[in-house]
Amino acid sequence: MSEKPTFTGNAEQKALAAQVFQLMSSQGQFFAADSPIKQTLANLADFIAVQRKADRAKVVQEIDAALSKNHAVFAREQREDDVIYVISRLGVYRARVEENTHMFKNRLYEPDNPLPVDDISVVVTTTRPALTTVEPVFISDYWQQQAGIEPVELGEEEQEAAVELLDTVEAVEAVEAVEAVAPAVAEPIEAAAVESVVAAAPVVVEKPVPVSTSMQNTLITLSNGVQIDLRRPVADLIGQYGPTLLAQFRAALDNDPLRRIVTFGTDAFPEGAVESFGKNDLRRIRDYLVETGEPMLDSQIIADIFYHNPRQNDYETFRFALDYRLSREKDFEFVGVDGARLWSTKGMPAIGTKRVKASEMGQLTGYLEEGFDDSTAEQSVESIRSTSTLSHVLTFFEWEYGVLPYTKALAALLPAPLLPDQRTAVLRFESPQHYSSTLAELRFPTGNRGGWLQGLEEFFHEHLVPGALITLSRTAEPHILTLTYEEQPETTDRLLILDEKKNKLAFANVSYYSAVDEDMLVNQQQYGRLRNLKSLPMSDRRKADATLEHVFETVGEPVGTRSEPRYQASLGQLYVALNVLRPVSREYLAHLLGDSDEFVLDGERWSYTPPPVEIDETEEPQDEDLYDEDEE
């Protein structure tokens, strides 16, 4: 199999070396070709001395001399007082080196001439899986480095240099470890490393570089690219990456094709241990809800239909199962909040006004999502949260339709949605002054559509007037709030009302008992011109700029001529008047006024010059008193 190596020395030494090589090769004839074959000088001398019948001491010297001449073949090891020679069947013994660069895996992931990678996604070939889930794809370090996702690993010297620069506890520990392992080579490497530090410095400053192999092995990479070192305490990781970890964990659970762990709100439980409900159970729950006529708590459903006792061991598990299973049914809708899990179903009476469609209301309150929410100017979010109360002056639109826009101030008071895709929550408003309560529906904002609270129409009309100051307060129950107002002796005034039959705004005598903000009170004395305001259809009111023009023409004081009309009004007047037709904040109103050249600020008042209208001469002349129609 292998050729005999060539030996050096004199003839005797060559022959002796060849004999020893043959002896040792025979000894290891079943060894691997590159495995070490070891033999001691003493054993060789014993064997050859017996064969030659020569003096053993002399043979020892001869063998040592012959093999020393051929040290290229016979590796010599001195062990205590004996000498060991090492060869392999191939001749000289060389330690095995793992050669795997030719392997397909390495050639695939680390090609010799890679193409530049601008986008990591081009490296990943996505295939359509049997289950519609996103399967994790392994991307080798090589490609991650090409795409700049993973920091480039430094060489040993650069790593040591980097260690010196990193002013962290971990870095110091790593340095100590390196020094403990190789104190003898520390100085030369440090000297050489100084130069590489300069080059490596920018990399180190931008991103902490993994210091040692062991540190790299504890770094896990989240799907958003964030790297987390598992050697750090869990509390530290939660403190730094808590929201990210939670979001990633939730997403992973949701995307798990096996759905091993399911969640409802903030609770999680293994799917396999969640009880199932049959069609009959679901029908009974639906019938129960329709019969009661309002959303019910999960605990109430459990008690009244399943007769489960809270003292039973499996009560919480059963409750979770009910909530989770109902959330998966399209006939049921979760309308609760954290701490009060309410359920609604199809066929239940609607809460709130039907005069404004949800799609229209979402657009009317869209200005809040556009950033024109100044509700926290007078009462900060912190103040609302700490006192658990919110004061608010009702506008005409809010009073008329029983709607409150979901401003930041209202959001600070009301509970947040429990489920990520939750659209509505049903809240109960209690009136301690009248021993009554009202159900209200909270519509959460979606995209560029704003949110609002509806269902207070009856209470507002019965006890309040536009301009009334109301106070909303939290109670011990998260879904129950109180609605109060300051009472005062009876006052009668001519206030603006909407005549539903004629679809016209008018002033009528109204008696009220609530304290009001006089500037916001829409009475005939202050806002008499509003009787000419057209009750525009909701679809028109969505166009805030056009609505404002109409409002300005109506409520503004005419200061122009009949041919060149011009109107003037204060910001406060416009705010009250525009809020008759649609909800609007002062900030949004200022934005609308500043956004158009037709509105000009004259001192403290705004003036509006309508664009010239081409008069059709064939048309009959209009009533002359149109321009002065507002005059009483």
């Binding site: 994790p136 370090d141 062991s214 790299q216 092995n217 504890t218 770094l219 896990i220 989240l222 799907s223 598992l230 050697r231 869990v234 990781l237 939660i238 808590g242 970890l245 939670l246 990633q248 964990f249 939730r250 997403a251 992973a252 659970l253 995307n255 798990d256 091993r260 762990i261 969640t263 409802f264 903030t266 609770d267 999680a268 439980f269 293994p270 396999g272 241990a273 061991n313 499996d314 919480e316 598990t317 979770f320």
Partner: protein, 50 residues
């Protein structure tokens, strides 16, 4: 276990399921994340020391 092979939300999830099942009650998901990190930590750091 090499941390490179850890897929957050997948690796070690079975252990978490067992733990959750053994607890017998639904758990808060924030606490569950902490427990899951401990499981991953055991798999990566503790096993590496062994």
């Amino acid at each position: 276990m090499d941390a490179k092979n850890v897929i957050f939300g997948e690796t070690g999830l079975e252990k978490l399921v067992q733990m959750l099942r053994a607890s017998g009650q639904p758990q808060d998901i924030a606490k569950l994340v902490e427990r899951y990190l401990e499981i991953l930590r055991d798999m990566v750091v503790v096993e590496e020391k062994r």
